[in-house]
Structure formats: C-alpha cells, structure tokens
Symmetry: C2
C-alpha cells in the first residue's frame, strides 16, 4: 500500500460564509489533482473558523479583572487572555506567561487554540470552530454534492507535554474513525498486541502538514491511498481522554 | 510538493548482528521500490533492538523487592517491572497498574518502551535501543555504502498525555533535523508566526506508520519527496523537553 500526499494550493481568500467544500474541490481540480473517492481531505481549522465567522476584533473584547491582572506582568494583551479564558472550561496550567487550558470541546492546548498569527489583521484573532466534527461533516457533505465521497479531518497545530516542536493533530472528523483498534488481535507468535489502538487521524493530519506547511499558505492537504472504511458515525470524541483516565491534567 | 509513502516488505527475520541497512536496501529493491537519495527511511525500533541484541530473557532477571511488591496486586510479571525500572532514570507516574517513566535517553513513555509483544518468544522482551541516534547513523552510513544518501529515523509507538490512541514518533535521527523552525519568519500580514517550530520528524514517523501498520509486520516505511537538507549534525535531543520547561512531569 503506497500513499500519496499533496497540498491543495490556490484557494481564494476565505470570508464568512465561504463554501469551503466547493472551493477545495475547484482548487484541487484547477491544480490538476482533482479529489477522488476515498481521499482523506485535511483542512486547517483556521480557514474553517474564518468561513464560520469565528473571528473576534480585540477592540470589542472587555477583559475581566483577572485577565487584566495576569496579563500585565507578562506583557500580554488582556483582550487575548479574556478570549482564552472564555474559550476554555478550565485552566490546566498557568505558569509564568504560559496558559494551557481545556477548551469547551475538551482539547488540552495552549491559549484555547486562539490564533493571532493569520487573521488577516493585527487586532483580530481566530477562535477554534465551535463544533469541528460538524465543520468536517459540512465539508464532507459539500464534497459529496460535488460527486466526491471523501473523508474530512479538521486540523490544528498543538504542542505536546514532553516533546518540543508542535505537530498537527485532528480536532474534528467526518467519514473516518479517528482510532484504529487492534484490541483482541494477536501477532504471529500468538501474543496479544501491546499497542492496542493507533490514532491514525492524528498520523494522517501530521502527514498532511508536511505538504501544507505553516508558511506556504496551503491550508488543505490530501492523503490518497489510505485504506479505511467510510463511516458516518465517526466523531473525534474517542480521542479525547476522559479525565478519569488522565494522569497529567 | 507531493509525497509518496511506501512500506518495505519482505525483510528477513532479524537476529543479533543483522545488517539492517543492507537488508532494507535489498528488500526495497526486491519490492520494485529501490531507495533513492533524499528518502526518509523510518525504521521501527523493535528490529533495531533485535539487531543490536537488546532483548532480555525474563527468566534471567532478578526482580527487586520493590518490583515484586508493586507487581503482585496488578498481576504483572515482576521481571518486567524490574526491567522497566532499570531502563528508567525515574518514575513519572505510578498510578494503579500504569507505570510511566523517563528513560535513560529522556523519553517519557509507558513501561520505558519495553515491548513484550513481538520478541519472537513469550518469555523475552525487547528494550529500546541504547542510543537510537547512533542506531540511525549506522543505518544511514550503511545505506550510503550501498550508494543511497537517505535520512534515517528510528520510530517507536508512544501514548500521549491527553489523547487516546498511540502514534509513532521519532526516537532517533540521522541526516535530518527533527524540528523545522519558523522563528523570526513572518506571515504575509507581517505578523510573526505563532507556531514557531514543527516537529517534522514526528510527523514523518507518524506518516510512515500509516503504511507500516502494527499488524502487517512491515517494520520500515519510506517517505519520498519531502524537502529537507541532509544534515549530519542532527540528533533527537532538541525534541526532548528540558525538565525546566516541562509543566507536566
């Protein structure tokens, strides 16, 4: 089994209401790499958020006293801190200038996934999509309407607890189960597998980052040739570790 | 930029002293996918350890009293616990039956990366390579001797703090820097990148897992078409977060 991974360049500027599925299908065709059934289409959350209007003007944000007090010594914008807190269900670590939160979705990440880098203006930030599974589903349905039966993953760039460097991981899925389980299978020696479940969604998402890059402004990557069964029951929830099983929150 | 990812099937059984570089080059050529300059060759640590004789017969291990006492209520083999402790510099979490350690290399993982599943016999375990960078280097040098100037990554399958499902990550590198830094670069709007460093080594390793699989017994995956500069100063150390920067150890 060989995989091909390619980026989808040439997307137009995304604005609230943009039809991402149609734009992606058109851009891929224009780049002479039309999408095909069974592709895994990995879409950067940033453009999803922009299409869904999930951007905020910092000037419109009234920070709380807590946000103001904490931001001052670290030379942070209290309006950004305020949004980070609003986007979180709780603070996981607040050490020095670092603010790691658990978002309302259940993702543990820096600054609730707020993106200040690429909003198209300095005084504006991009929030994570409200419901990334629903975002993925809308794109999947849109691609189906264009005749393409592909899985969709919404990606974001997260840090890790013990490793430097960030990687792209999946925050929403449609049509593809995020975890491939080996539970109950045995190896050729009759020993049950130690590795019981692989988060293939995160591996697919990281693979797509290699062609998207963070500077190249290619917000969509496609993995072709991955063997999986299209499954419309798939959601990202099984990837989110329940707090009862969590040793590090 | 499009990437191709393919597995290298058909490797013979690995024994202590096996010449992995020669075996991989031959198997890839026999599969009609000969290795090429600039490939990133991702090798599962398990076969590296076997070639380096990093296997232990459990019957030969004398467990400490601590290992015996802790193993009993969890129905664990005290010899395995003993090896996990010996392979670690300290215990990070010991909760219920779970033992998360920091290995002598500095990796934070379950059971010091011990592999009980695929050692070729039930009473034997496979330890991580002593020096995975050196292992990668030996394979890279061996491939160069066969006329192939490729980067090499040694992979293992690790869990994550907050996400279910494991992924393959890099534990040793040769010829390729593990982290791609964007520090100092600005986006088209003049805003400095929020994402400053991507651990491309982990993304390449996860991508290779998609073709290796954990049941298919394809222990080598190749990523072709990734743009990078071959660099013989590369080591995995920059990926290992220093404890002074670590909020979760």
């Amino acid at each position: 089994m060989a995989l091909q991974i390619f980026g989808v360049p040439g997307l137009p500027e995304i604005v609230p209401g943009s039809d991402l599925a149609a734009m992606i299908a058109t851009a891929a065709a224009d780049a002479c790499t039309p999408l095909a059934d069974g592709d895994v289409v990995v879409v950067t959350s940033k453009i999803v958020s922009k299409a869904e209007g999930r951007t905020v003007e910092l000037a419109d944000v009234q920070p709380s006293q807590f946000a103001i007090d904490w931001s001052l010594p670290w030379d942070k914008d209290p309006a950004v801190t305020e949004l980070v807190l609003r986007e979180s269900k709780r603070v996981v670590r607040q050490v020095g200038p670092i603010l790691i939160t658990e978002t309302h979705h259940g993702f543990v990440c820096a600054n609730s996934g707020l993106d200040q880098s690429s909003s198209g203006a300095h005084g504006r930030v991009v929030l994570l999509p409200l419901d990334p599974d629903a975002s993925a589903r809308r794109i999947r349905v849109g691609l189906q309407a264009a005749g393409i039966d592909a899985a969709v993953i919404i990606s974001d760039t997260f840090g890790r607890a013990w490793r430097e460097g960030q990687t792209d991981i999946a925050i929403g899925v449609a049509g593809i189960q995020p975890i491939l389980s080996y539970i109950g299978q045995v190896d050729p020696h009759g020993h049950e597998f130690k590795v019981q479940a692989i988060c293939t969604a995160d591996e697919l998402t990281g693979a797509a980052e290699l062609v998207k890059g963070n500077t190249s402004r290619v917000p969509v990557g496609v993995v072709r040739g991955f063997e999986f069964e299209l499954d419309d029951t798939a959601v990202i929830a099984p990837v989110l570790r329940d707090q009862s099983r969590d040793l590090f929150r």
